[in-house]
């Protein structure tokens, strides 16, 4: 069999669930019998009683790629994973999966509390699709990886939750799948084990495995994934470069939040509802574009990382045609998507190309990776999607958000000074 280039192909996949509240009055045998005996007509399933979790999803997951799924709670991400895994079957559409799947939807499925870790490895391994011999061959490897020490021969009910998760994660990742499906479980155990599990994930990535992962950590998606899909309201809203998808997703969230602040209610308050469209239609009357974005330190160089106490110049190349009054905007967001600052400048009337410079005399940020977003817009028109630039900051080494310019002075009170003095 020739290896297809796509590991997973979803075509027009729809999934509906019956509404539970409705099912209640016809779910027992008793009521069914009564209905039958009294010759009532079977009530038709009205479409209104169905919850449509997925409304026609088309997605191709290329072999060997790591694909992140982002989206709000209730947008259909988990349903999608369960469909790919084969736990659910689609209401309509087709799903092709090429390769052995291991799904890490919930760790430790089928663990029996009264059994020892070792015994549970065997049963869990078989449940996850390994043969008995395969599990036997990997048991030592799994035990070593889980770092449980002597606890491996104790009943699982005596484990701490961290130990339980570690064991479960160890089994799940030793299945040696071709396709790995992960739902929000990368943060297993303590710092040390979290690093180990990240290393394991890297190993999978570099081993050419296909990974499909759902996470709410947008930074993970940006740094880890080759591709990202944004699931919104049961459809794929965007699919492509993770940075672009995440940025667009953040923009929609921000737009929804802004709307919520204005009107008191928005798409955010109802789970699963699609987020509002972000306006990105180009202005018809003319164009105002950012054509380049650079960051420099005080000496005019573009270092790998900027110093907390150093300055930063943001250079925005623009192009405005025809002549118009324009406004520049520079936002800075932290890795977790928070807005650090938002600056705007009405530059007056401009025509043609040029460069605008924003000088930050002192950066004053704690260590981390930030993102600059630069926009230019014609007066009274919404800006086009921003230009982005990642900026690394080092030298502050503080916890928190800002690193203020500071100095310490100790001033002992006069009495204390006399008591200890001379």
């Amino acid at each position: 069999m020739s290896a297809p280039t796509d590991a997973i192909v979803l075509r027009d996949v729809e999934k509906s669930f019956k509404k539970t509240s409705r099912r209640k009055d016809s779910t027992t045998l008793k009521t069914e019998l009564v209905r039958l005996l009294t010759f009532q007509k079977k009530r038709e399933d009205e479409p209104a009683q169905l919850i449509q979790a997925l409304k026609g999803v088309n997605l191709r997951i290329p072999r060997g790629k790591t694909v992140g799924l982002v989206g709000r709670n209730g947008s259909g991400k988990s349903t999608l994973l369960k469909l790919v895994t084969g736990i659910y079957s689609p209401t309509r559409g087709s799903i092709e999966v090429h390769g052995r799947i291991s799904a890490l939807l919930e760790l430790g499925a089928g663990f029996h509390p009264d059994f020892t870790g070792r015994e549970n490895i065997l049963i869990n391994g078989i449940i996850l699709g390994m043969s008995r011999a395969e599990v036997k061959a990997r048991v030592e490897q799994i035990i070593e990886y889980a770092e449980l020490g002597d606890f491996i021969d104790e009943p699982v009910r005596t484990y701490s939750s961290g130990m339980f998760m570690r064991l479960a994660f160890a089994v799940a990742t030793h299945v040696d799948p071709e396709i790995l499906i992960i739902d929000e479980i990368l943060s297993v155990g303590d710092e040390h084990f979290a690093r180990k599990s990240h290393a394991k994930m890297s190993e999978f990535r570099h081993g050419g495995k296909t990974i499909l992962l759902v996470t709410h950590s947008l930074a993970t998606v940006e740094s880890w994934c080759d591709l990202a899909a944004w699931i919104d309201g049961g459809t794929v809203r965007m699919f492509g470069d993770p940075r672009q998808v995440v940025a667009e997703y953040r923009r929609a969230i921000a737009a929804a939040e802004a709307e919520a602040q204005k009107t008191g209610h928005s798409a955010l308050s109802a789970p699963g509802l699609a987020l509002p469209q972000t306006s990105s239609a180009p202005a018809a009357s003319g164009t105002a574009n950012v054509t380049g974005l650079r960051a420099q330190d005080a000496s005019g160089a573009s270092p790998e990382a900027f110093l907390t106490d150093g300055g930063l110049d943001v250079l925005i190349d623009y192009e405005v045609t025809p002549r118009a009054a324009v406004r520049f905007g520079v936002d800075l967001t932290s890795a977790d998507g928070r807005l650090v600052f938002s600056l705007g400048h009405d530059a007056g009337e401009l025509d043609g190309r040029g460069t605008v410079r924003l000088r930050l005399a002192r950066l004053g940020l704690v260590d981390g990776t930030y993102e600059l977003l630069a926009t230019v817009s014609r007066a009274g028109e919404p800006p086009a999607p921003p230009h982005r630039l990642a900026v690394k900051v080092t030298g502050g080494a503080l916890a928190g958000v800002v690193a203020p310019a500071h100095g310490w002075t100790v001033e002992p009170a006069a009495t204390a000074a006399r008591a200890s003095g001379a």
Binding site: L29, K30, I87, Y88, E106, F115, E119, I123, R132
Partner: protein, 270 residues
């Protein structure tokens, strides 16, 4: 049906592992674990012996042994049905979190009880030995009779387990039906002691009545076969058994179809 059984064979490692675990769990939980399995039928037997053997003074010879010959296979059947009915609906953890072949679950219950049945046989022989009743060469018939009973049990279990996912009150109904079937099946009484019936305009000779019981109730035929092997030391009547085998095959075909059709919604409904 073929597909269902083929898949079951394909997942046999899982079936074995789960069955082994069930057995281990049962026998490990307490020191008495192993004895609990025997204690239940033994106590049951003592109650029935007291009621039917002593108080009602049945005419059946070696009544405790006679009773035990029927009770042990019956416990295999009844426990499988009762446990099997909820086997799918109780495993939300497996069905919604991993891709799990649901048909393994009812089969695990039947397999676990099958092993328990085999483990109880020494107890049966021990009781027989007290009556100086030794197993005879007719024990070879144990294999086909056990096959028929297991297949029949599996078919019923598949049907009930798949229906119980959507209709949760089925398990309570099943509990009552099993109790009823217990009295309608020749476990406590001997099918050969049935007398003529002249009631409701029906006139059946003892022989005809026996045939009605043996052919209408699959478990009656099986029970009677067990008695033939252990108690009478004779070859079991093969005609009723053949009918049961046929019924089981048809039932398995229906059960598999129902199971197969409902299987897709298991993960959503449990």
């Amino acid at each position: 049906m073929i597909r269902n059984l083929k898949e079951l064979y394909q997942y046999r490692a899982l079936l074995f592992a789960l069955t082994a675990r069930e057995l281990k769990a049962r026998y490990r939980a307490s020191v008495l674990g192993f004895f609990w399995t025997f204690l239940n039928p033994t106590l049951n037997m003592l109650v029935y012996v007291l009621v039917f053997g002593v108080i009602l003074s049945t005419s059946v010879e070696r009544y405790p042994y006679f009773l035990f010959c029927g009770l042990i296979p019956w416990v295999f059947f009844a426990s499988s049905i009762l446990g099997g009915t909820t086997s799918v609906s109780d495993r939300k953890d497996l069905l919604t979190k991993v891709r799990f072949p649901a048909q393994v679950l009812p089969a695990t219950v039947v397999a676990t009880n099958l092993v328990n049945f085999l483990l109880s046989l020494p107890l049966l022989f021990l009781l027989g030995a007290l009556y100086r009743d030794w197993p005879s060469w007719h024990l070879v018939f144990l294999v086909p009779v056990l096959l028929v009973q297991t297949f029949f049990t599996l078919a019923v279990t598949y049907l009930l387990s798949s229906l119980n996912v959507a209709f949760r009150d089925l398990q309570h109904i099943v509990a009552n039906l099993v109790q009823m079937a217990f009295f309608l099946t020749p476990v406590l009484w001997n099918v050969e002691n049935v007398s003529d019936v002249h009631r409701f305009g029906l006139h059946l000779s003892a022989q005809q009545m026996q045939d009605v019981i043996l052919y209408a109730n699959p478990m009656a035929a099986v029970m009677s076969a067990w008695r033939d092997i252990f108690y009478k030391h004779a070859a079991p009547q093969w005609q009723p058994l053949l009918v049961v085998a046929g019924v089981s095959l048809v039932l398995m075909w229906i059960s598999s179809a129902v199971f197969e059709r409902r299987r897709e919604e298991f993960a959503e409904l449990v």
